[in-house]
Amino acid sequence: MSTDPMAPSRHALARGIFGGVALFLVWELVARGFDLPSYILPAVSEIVARIWTARAALGNAAAYTLGESVAGYLLGGAIGVGLALCVTLVPPLRKVIVPAATAVNSVPVVAFSPLILLWFGMGMTSKIVMVAVAVSFTMFVSALAGFDRVDERSVNLMRSFGASRAAILWKLRLPTALPLVLSGMRLSTVRSLIVAIVTEMLGAYGGLGWVIYQAVVVIDFVQVWAAIFIASLASLAFFGLVSWMERRLVFWR
């Protein structure tokens, strides 16, 4: 039943690791073989060595960025699912909320960043808000599709058993929507980190985006690459954790 190409599987994981190792090998050979300067392409070994020496700073930056991402992710997820629930329970709201949400989403979320930075400052709050804005729309769309999958005949069956609206919501609507809500959550992990990092590059007091920005200013491209590596590791870990949760919770697929 699962036709989602992004759906996780052990096979894909093995292929991914193999592909990564192969890429790093070619990269190392090209960088060393052509003796490329580090502002064009530093060798992988050089980047890894930098990650080790700068581990404390990079670790703090990663924790900072992940903190923003996860907070924004949870907030955005709650807003998206909450809105979808409102639209489902009060159908007339659909005509108001769906166009408004689409209008907000039709502009790349980064376009809002100067305003968000102005309103919420340079600290973590502005990043959390940006991530929440970006994630909430994806989650709204996925959750709405999930709630729309509820079979009216099942609702009628539960009504014939004398079920209240709350019981129908809890025992039927929410579990029916769960698979699509969780696949939306999985897809939103990567997006939340990207938005957090990009916003940090526009103005922040810490985080991986801020580290990248600072390193570019002092022409330290090995540091830029080290931060990028850490960002992709963090992103993979976040994605992996949510995928694992999804597999555990939606066992019936």
Binding site: D151, R153, S154, N156, L157, M158, R159, S160, F161, G162, A163, A167, K171, L172, P175, L178, F251, W252
Partner: protein, 280 residues
């Protein structure tokens, strides 16, 4: 226009059924959806413990009839709906009648036991007790050893038995079964019919059973009702005087064949109204 049911009841039987209090009593029941009249003056009495089957051409409003009796839809004003001797609104019947729709509608995230106890859970019963009771019922429903299986691990026939078990666990005197075996292959269906009769004789509930299969209607029922084409009403009512318990050989007996011919003629006549050259 009123369509009076033609009956072949003897006077004595008619007198008997009049004195007993019917569990369900519908009089001039009508239902209109916008421009479309789905039901037009349905008159129907069901006695406690009776197994009544309803056949009719497709789109004759059988499902609308069930939706009203299960409380999901209100009939048009002027319809009389009496349940257990009291005049009621359709919505008063929500939670009072155990209804089984055509599809099994099992919940994918619940195993066999938890699907079966869903109505008890909604009633607020103790979940552990309900589970124990369901465990005891599994063998009777041919589901022994399948307590922890999930719907996607079961065959169509088994899923249907889980749905039936769920309907039986919702202990109501009146059961509405809407083509429960419609999606099954002929062999499984014949086995399920005999099995249903066994379970029914065990539990003695009143059953109102919709089907479009005349053999099934006669094989199962104490009484068969034929509905007219849309707008639906009761066209013909025949008592099935065949002995119980009923076996597979019954369907080739002369009485069965004669009854089947009568019923098929009536259904054919109604189907022609929908599909024939004079259909409007």
């Amino acid at each position: 226009m009123m369509t009076r049911p033609q009956t072949d009841f003897t006077a004595a039987e008619a007198a008997m059924t009049d004195t007993a209090e019917p569990i369900l009593d519908l009089r001039t029941l009508s239902k209109t959806f916008g421009e479309v009249k789905a039901l037009n003056g349905v008159d129907l009495k069901v006695q406690p413990g009776e197994f009544v089957t309803v056949v009719g051409p497709s789109g004759c409003g059988k499902s609308t009839l069930f939706n009203i009796v299960s409380g999901l839809e209100e009939p048009d004003s002027g319809s009389v709906l009496r349940f257990e001797g009291r005049s009621v609104m359709a919505r008063d019947l929500l939670g009072k009648v155990s209804f089984m729709p055509q599809r099994d509608l099992l919940l994918a995230w619940r195993n066999v036991i938890d699907n079966a106890i869903l109505p008890l859970e909604i009633e607020g019963a103790n979940r552990a007790e309900a589970r124990r009771e369901a465990e005891r019922m599994l063998p009777e429903f041919g589901l022994a050893g399948f307590a922890k299986q999930y719907p996607h691990e079961l065959s169509g026939g088994m899923r249907q038995r889980v749905a039936l078990m769920r309907t039986f666990m919702f202990k109501r005197d009146l059961m509405l079964l809407d083509e429960p075996f419609g999606a099954l292959d002929a062999l499984t269906r014949a086995m399920m019919q005999r099995w249903l009769l066994d379970v029914w004789s065990e539990h003695r509930r009143t059953v109102l059973f919709i089907t479009h299969d005349v053999d099934e209607a006669i094989f199962l029922g104490d009484r068969v009702l034929v509905m007219t084409a849309r707008p639906g009403a009761i066209k013909l009512e025949r008592k099935v005087d065949l002995p119980r318990p009923r076996g597979a050989d019954l369907v080739t007996s002369p009485e069965f064949i004669a009854l089947k011919r009568d019923l098929l003629d009536a259904i054919e006549e109604e189907s022609m109204k929908t599909f024939g050259p004079n259909a409007h």
